[in-house]
Symmetry: C2
């Protein structure tokens, strides 16, 4: 990874973590609820979604505090989805990134409610941001609810569950990933550009870009589950295989999956060209998504 | 109950149920998710919250389709909270209103996701309503997220859980109810009036009214658990006692609880007088809340 990209990622990550902490600490809510919300928010992660949102914004607008509320809201929604995903009734995971999952650290009821609270609070944050116009708030909330709701992320989670323990086609697999992980990435890219006043044509190009970026992210996730370093990725290598999960390497072979990923990288960069702006950071982030080792 | 009030309740209930069905049926989402969302939405209930919202609106504005999206969003959020509340990790209920609870009809994972979907979709509905201005959308979404989030309903649920199996004071009990059930009633009353262009002073009076209305609702719930007709209320009479739940009759005796309720009715109506409008329907609804037998 280039030094400049590493610096960029680290500085944005710090900024986001500071702002998330400030926003949730300011809540006057029952202490146990706040503790549980903060526990999962502070449990690490690369903050890729809010970073993408900021990078997309900066492609069109100059650096600004205007993106913070949307970036925080996005990370809160991502975090709630992980908490609910880890529940015994869902993936039943006891650890995430080497730390106890929320329901193991607290209890199931608290984890369910902490997730509900994070989801609801994300809309409150955007609706209360004094830096946004009413029109901008509505545009962001519309996108956020669409991307994370029944026709977006939650829909993808239902499809993912239904696909467990059976063979799915590559088309089905891509539909699941498009909804389950792609929609939040789409929100990151398009809402950043929207706040930066990108034109409809530019937004269209970026939406296409975000589609391929989501697929790159997922193929690399599947590849890392085969050839990744267990220490680095923070979960058992080979768990997809033992969970009988449908993956790209399983459907296409490892080489086939790697080729497919490069095909997506090319398509993502082609879409970026149509975005008609200095896309160097988004391009560097695409390579980072494709080559990441954890 | 007066015939005119009964007619009002029935006609509004039908309208709301028709609009909810239309809104959720229009979703293009995985069939199982839609089925699970609709199952709980159609599982009955008196639709009191959206009816209150409409009645509050009509106190200031004339009947209009403008309130529909907020009314639907409110009922969706109420329904999601019931689905999550019934989960094994929470109240562990197998039946609600004589029908299987969502996780018993489907499974726990589906119930969790159906709740998440209803919550998220409620914000999408408001943000997409062509009858509202951007300012109105933002005002409604702000109120809705505040009343239903960590500082509102979800906060109340955490406090309620923490209060289980221990004695709580009357102050604690009222705080729990204020958050757990009162906040959504506050949303109903204040957002209806807001859309009807009530003045800040009128809104203040109605917010005070909604506080007492929430308490009336809760005291009557507790009273019905002691002297209610099991058939009518659709749950086992005496379940609070056997669940060691803190209730008004337990803290004040049955007579004391009934007196307390009348005190709240008087305070609610006193607040209504300050609302400076024709509050006859809100006043009739207050009596209905106080005297309902199921």
């Amino acid at each position: 990874m280039k030094e400049s990209l590493r610096d960029y990622l680290v500085s944005k990550q710090k900024l986001i973590e500071k702002e998330i902490n400030k926003s949730v600490q300011s809540l006057r809510v029952p202490p146990k609820l706040k503790e549980s919300m903060l526990y999962s928010l502070e449990a690490g992660g690369k903050r890729l979604r809010p970073i993408l949102l900021m990078a997309s914004y900066e492609t069109y607008g100059k650096e600004s505090a205007k993106v913070i509320s949307s970036a925080i809201a996005l990370e809160l929604i991502h975090t709630y989805s992980l908490i609910h995903d880890d529940l015994p009734a869902m993936d039943d995971d006891s650890y995430r990134r080497g730390k106890l999952t929320n329901h193991k650290m607290f209890d199931e009821a608290t984890a369910i409610l902490a997730g509900d609270a994070l989801l609801t609070y994300s809309f409150e944050i955007v609706s209360n941001d004094p830096l946004l116009s009413d029109k901008e708030k509505v545009d962001i909330i519309k996108k956020l609810s669409e991307c994370s709701g029944p026709n977006g992320m939650v829909g993808g989670q239902i499809l993912d569950m239904e696909a467990e323990n059976r063979n799915v086609s590559l088309e089905e697999l891509e539909k699941i990933h498009e909804l389950k992980t792609g929609e939040l990435l789409k929100f990151a890219i398009t809402s950043g550009a929207l706040l930066g006043n990108a034109s409809p044509k530019q937004l269209e190009a970026l939406e296409e870009f975000s589609y391929y970026l989501g697929l790159i992210f997922q193929v690399q996730d599947d590849i890392l589950d085969v050839i990744g370093d267990q220490e680095k990725i923070g979960k058992t290598v080979g768990s997809d295989e033992s969970n009988q999960k449908s993956t790209y390497p399983k459907l296409l072979g490892l080489k086939g999956a790697q080729d497919r990923k490069m095909d997506y990288v090319n398509k993502a960069k082609h879409a970026l060209k149509k975005a008609d702006a200095d896309v160097s950071m988004l391009s560097a982030l695409t390579d980072y998504f494709s080559e990441r080792d954890y």
